[in-house]
Symmetry: C2
């Protein structure tokens, strides 16, 4: 069950990847949330596993990270997320998948990913990857914004979904950073990685947005695998035994005050599953097609 | 008076530059808007001229430009906006002001800005300038996002205000584009200008964010002057006589269905006054200070 803090003043958009809700239903929900605590998520019917069916809440935060969209998942959905794999068919999908496979293999080898990682090793890995994960959405959102300015054409609703993804990844980072403060060598490698990846992704997105979204789709498939592995370690009692989730995570995902690391990792995994689905979907669209995840879209792919 | 379309499903953040409203008042307002048409803006008390005191509404748009924040100004405020000037004191302010003075002088000279411009000349000028105006907020928002990723520090609420400014400028552009479709030479110069300005602003923001915000503050002062000039032309009957505002503007600013170009230019001028105030304020802050315009901030500068 989730708890929504009394800071929630108002609900906004139904999300990145919301289910097809009719307008009357939405209006009723918004009216409820604006005047009192929202209905328990338990009263929602069970949802399909992917696409992620969360509504997003916007809470009036304490100004430190204002304007955030807050993911809001049902327990049924959180427990049901499983690693998925889209079978590549087109060339751009094969390119995206191969790039990820090579990158993951190298990164796993260099960092010693495997069955018996310590809490510190898990956190180092997560922190490093999340510093990188916040780049693509921002780059893509910016490039589409600039393109809209220079062609004077509408964006078709992509920018907000992309920026929300970037922000969501940044919140993953800030959450894990609460659990471990990296040293100078680690920080230097984060800076170097950003320098390389930002420029590479910027150029790649100019050349083929489609390939970039497929690449991110497969990357997020890997993230779902890795967080599922972490959950297995937690459930086996080998990782973060009864450790509480940091306060920032409780606030961001609307967790219960006594939430543990297990609830946090469940929420992060759900976010990554959502990114995989969204990016695979965007990769199949033309750049001037309407983003089906845009607020107000009546039906999701 | 404003009219809010029945597409408004829910209110979100009180804005970029909202007045100090107490929470109970906000809650009451949000509850009202979520369940029925909002109260007439006429019932709001008169507001100071700058900072802009609008609440922002988010409407569930038709997915083409989803997630937009919609400025919402009272008539009293709209009529009261006047050109302002911040007297530069610090070196970075002098640098920002001088750069704008030189740029404006050159641009006015090249484009023949003056007392007897035709509607086409006005639109050409506005379209060109708005294609450039959407760049700084996006660049600054992206650079702060990347910095937060690489330093693992919180952003302190700046990103959303900056991205909202960029989006607001892009909506200015898309609105004016409805009124005139530029030719190939004009389009080529837009592309060239973006190439130069994006890179210049990117580098300048890396070197001195403070100077960049002061620069935009003074730029927006000029924009308020120019739109005030346009309003004088409209009121003298020399410009857009009784011409209706395009549909996109009616939707974005929540204008009445029969709104004219005068109402549109009033709204755009109010936006620019808001940008001037926000950027001058940000220019005086350290990069790690809390953005006073962030959602949830209790008091505005
Ligand atoms: Fe992540
Ligand atoms: Fe991710
Ligand atoms: Fe503008
Ligand atoms: Fe502006």
């Amino acid at each position: 069950t989730r708890q929504v803090s009394d800071k929630v003043l108002h609900v906004i958009d139904y999300s990145n990847c919301a289910p097809a809700l009719d307008r009357a239903n939405l209006l009723r929900r918004f009216a409820t949330v604006a005047t009192e605590a929202p209905q328990s998520q338990k009263t929602l019917p069970p949802q399909p596993v992917a696409p992620q069916p969360g509504l997003k809440l916007r809470i009036s935060s304490d100004a430190f990270e204002s304007g955030l969209s807050h993911p809001n998942y049902s327990d049924v959905y959180l427990d049901g997320v499983r690693p998925t794999h889209l079978k590549p068919e087109k060339l751009y999908q094969h390119v995206g998948l191969r790039t990820i496979q090579v990158a993951r293999w190298m990164f796993d080898y260099l960092t010693g990913y495997g069955p018996d990682m310590t809490e510190v090793q898990w956190l180092q890995r997560m922190i490093f990857l999340e510093t990188v994960a916040g780049v693509p959405g921002m780059v893509a959102g910016m490039l589409r914004h600039l393109k809209s300015l220079r062609t004077m054409q509408r964006d078709q609703g992509w920018i907000h979904t992309l920026l929300e993804e970037a922000e969501n990844e940044r919140m993953h980072l800030l959450t894990f950073f609460e659990l471990r403060k990296p040293g100078p060598l680690f920080r230097a490698s984060v800076i170097a990685a950003q320098g390389v990846f930002f420029n590479a992704y910027f150029l790649a997105y100019l050349l083929s947005p489609r390939t970039c979204h497929a690449f991110i789709g497969f990357l997020e498939e890997e993230a779902v695998k890795t967080y599922t592995h972490a959950l297995e370690e937690i459930d086996a009692g080998r990782l973060w035994k009864d450790m509480p989730a940091p306060a920032i995570a409780v606030q961001y995902w609307g967790l219960q005050q006594d939430a543990t690391m297990r609830e946090l990792i469940l929420a992060v995994r759900a976010d990554e599953a959502c990114h995989a689905h969204v990016n695979h979907t965007l990769s199949k669209l033309k750049a001037d097609e309407v983003n089906p995840f845009a607020t107000g879209a009546s039906q999701l792919p």
